[in-house]
């Protein structure tokens, strides 16, 4: 089936540094998402994105977070500066369409550890 790739699979970073998580969505998909899962907790929605714009975001999407997809390349989540509480697995997803008939396809996640 359609595959979403995430690079890197693991990232260790010092608190205060910047990190960029990369997502390679399904090739013909237009809608993109990030979810965050803290160890032992539920996966939670961060943000969705379409046509170069954030469509909606949750309260977890702090001011230090940003997303973009320049020129159809990777869909990225940037955290600057990072904080200890940003340690989590970040899952990217993409979908072809918007709304109740669509399916989100997920990547395997990037494990981020902030020291």
């Amino acid at each position: 089936g359609p595959k979403v790739l995430q690079i890197p699979s693991h990232q260790i970073i010092d608190m205060g540094q910047m990190v960029t998580l990369n997502c390679d969505p399904v090739s013909n998909h237009l809608y993109f998402y990030w979810y965050k899962q803290i160890l032992g907790q539920q996966m939670e929605f961060l943000v969705n994105f379409y046509n170069g714009k954030v469509m909606e975001k949750s309260k977890l999407f702090k001011d230090q977070f940003s997303v973009e997809r320049p020129d159809g390349s990777y869909f990225t989540l940037k955290i600057q500066p990072t904080a200890l509480e940003d340690s989590a697995v970040y899952f990217c997803a993409s979908s072809m369409d918007w709304g109740d008939q669509d399916t989100q396809y997920f990547g395997p996640g990037t494990r981020l550890l902030v020291l």
Binding site: V4, Q6, Y35, Q42, F45, N48, E56, G99, Y105, F106
Partner: protein, 114 residues
Amino acid sequence: AQSVTQPDARVTVSEGASLQLRCKYSYFGTPYLFWYVQYPRQGLQLLLKYYPGDPVVQGVNGFEAEFSKSNSSFHLRKASVHWSDWAVYFCAVSLMSNYNVLYFGSGTKLTVEP
């Protein structure tokens, strides 16, 4: 509070035995419901999804789930488990007010014994 609950963090079954993984939700109205599976080092894959209609939904690999409005549940079932079903299973909900955000349960890790 609105939530998705998977009460069993871990389930172990013998190969060939039947399986039920439980999911309960607490949301107003009728949500859309999903089961995803995550195999080791892979992304979440959709097993099946429920939109208002027939309460029993068939999915891939012999999985099915039944929606119960009275019980606010969407339990996943399989008649005969295979060793390849060893994975983590996530129940998720989206709301009619916003289809594009999924709310996930905490997952159930399924172990299959020979």
